[in-house]
Symmetry: C2
Subunit: 353 residues, 2 copies
């Protein structure tokens, strides 16, 4: 149990619990809600505190409010776009393979037109996707699919984007954030999916400005101090591959020697029975026109309603000072144990069945 | 020794060393030097990193550059001011009492005129203070002697200052700092002393803007992560009292039940043999017209050249977010042991002789 005072005999887990408890005592589950755009100075004050902020003002310019299926289809034409495909809507998540072992599963990526993609994710919602064998599609390439850091590097060659025709609708940076942090984004990403896709819980070393354009995103958040509750393990890597024989997706383990992936063993952090009592999740729904500031290192699990479109801006976190050390401290007290040993995951039978 | 990877078997000291080592690897002993006043946004970026900053531009308004002994004497007239008096120039420092025990010693405070005070600290420098039995005077009341938080509280009664006649020369706040932090100072202090006074190493939970008006201050700084190197102990409290019988200052232990004072047992952190090898002090000299930003929680030991005058602005540190938790973590892993047990202080024979 957490202690009020640490002693030389305290264990590493005692220390992490002490830090998490002190942090919760000071901050609770509070997050700020803004009605107007912040100035760079106001925003930097919030970044310094590093708590989530829900911004109710519309950050998306008018051009993005026009992003109907028809508009997107018309703008993108026959250009192929890269879409993640999984049998279960869980790309980049812990999944049981045919051998009964748990893997960190990367999605299969297929090229298709925007029209085909939007038709499928809209049809899925209506239960009309039987012809796809229940496969779930998600535009989540998250490699700076709208703008990469190279875009801002005037000395580099011009980069291209699969979504070039949409660029004129999307500002290449968030001005109050860029001015506050004194840098341009490292990546700007377009996300389109439906309620069948879930983003498993993880944290990123980026300041994240996340604007919902259509639909709604449901975030379940945990501060960096509660990472210890999320039971990271090291899982073997695997990828979905479409079998040429059957046409079905199969989870194929990566070759021996592929580095393992450190990932939370908590599959559904909205299920409180999967978590220790000391955890304090924060639920925030971000609706069309709203923006979430998600500080670097915060753990997030994300679901979405219907067809949801979002654009996010990742900014490199500040590496000077203490922030990087603390995030490493909170995650890196020890190498996580392997994910396929008895008791290594929380209720795997339930969650993987 | 510090470890690259912590394990469940790591001790608390291992953990602190790991954090200190990671922090040093990332930040070294770097500090920024500014030639021009920062904007509030530029300053807040520096506050966020929480490293010292030396500002070479003159922050003191012209009025303060006129602060000769004659000017100060003329402005202050016969008003009594509170001056700390010690036999050794070590107010608020660990000192051996007549019983051979170590105490945290508060200075005797005497009232005198600015003229008498300045005459004495100027004469001390010339070896002309034999008539004072070698006593050392320091204007260091540090209770918001120029402006207190009450000054900024429009609903409170007007407060008074011993240095009221000097207020018109001293801005009540530092505008770029107040705007950056979105608050007014908690205290603004005048400091006047000479090279006979030394400030023992300690840290404050305040953001500190320290402007030197005359002379020079020599800071020896340690980041909050290296607090473990400074070997805090809990010392009994004592105060200097002037004996009515002899007229001499005597160190009088406070009554039983007076809380002990947590203080570093390192008396001279510029003496590297008094410190473990893992420590990385930063030396910064702040000269007339220059300003030091000293982030909350940084350990500082301060000496001065000749007669030195300074004004500092203390701002409450940000209590939301992680900063407060981390400072407590770095200092509060355990209650420090008593300061009068064998091996409790570093080389006490040398340093107290």
């Amino acid at each position: 149990m957490a202690q009020n005072t640490l002693t030389p005999a305290s264990t590493q887990e005692d220390t992490l619990k002490w830090v998490a408890n002190e942090y919760y005592d000071l901050n609770g589950v509070h997050y700020d809600v803004l009605r107007d755009p912040p100035t760079p100075l106001e925003f930097l004050r919030l970044v310094r505190i590093a708590r989530p902020v829900l911004m109710k003002h519309s950050e998306a310019p008018d051009a993005m409010s026009r992003w109907s299926n028809e508009y997107l289809t018309d703008r993108m034409g026959d250009s192929p776009i890269s879409i993640a495909v999984t049998p279960n809507g869980r790309a980049d998540a812990i999944t049981v393979g045919r051998d009964g072992r748990q893997y960190f599963a990367e999605p299969h990526v297929e090229k298709m037109t925007m029209r085909a993609f939007l038709d499928k994710i809209t049809a899925e919602l209506c239960g009309m996707n039987a012809e796809d064998n229940g496969e779930v599609l998600y535009l989540q390439s998250q490699n700076g699919n709208l703008y990469t850091a190279q875009y801002f590097d005037l000395s580099a060659e011009a980069e291209t984007s699969e979504y070039g025709p949409l660029r004129e609708d999307v500002p290449c940076e968030n001005l109050w954030c860029s001015d506050a942090l004194d840098k341009s984004p490292d990546a700007v990403n377009l996300w389109i999916g439906n309620s069948a896709s879930v983003t498993s819980i993880h944290s990123d070393p980026y300041e994240n400005i996340y604007t919902v354009v259509r639909g709604a995103k449901h975030f379940t958040l945990f501060p960096p101090t509660e990472g210890w509750c999320l039971s990271e393990r090291t899982y073997p890597h695997a990828s979905y591959v479409r079998s040429q024989a059957t046409g079905q997706l199969e989870l194929v383990p990566s070759p021996p020697g592929t580095p393992g992936v450190r990932w939370s063993s908590v599959l559904d952090p909205t299920n409180s029975s999967a978590l220790p009592a000391e955890v304090h999740p924060i639920s925030i729904t971000v609706r069309a026109g709203e923006t979430l500031y998600l500080p670097a290192g915060w753990w997030h699990y994300v679901r979405q309603s219907e067809v949801t479109i979002a654009v996010n801006y990742w900014y490199d976190m500040e590496s000077r000072g203490m922030a990087w050390v603390w995030l490493n401290f909170l995650r890196g007290l020890r190498e996580p144990p392997p994910g396929n040993e008895e008791g290594s995951g929380r209720d795997p039978d339930h969650t993987f069945s």
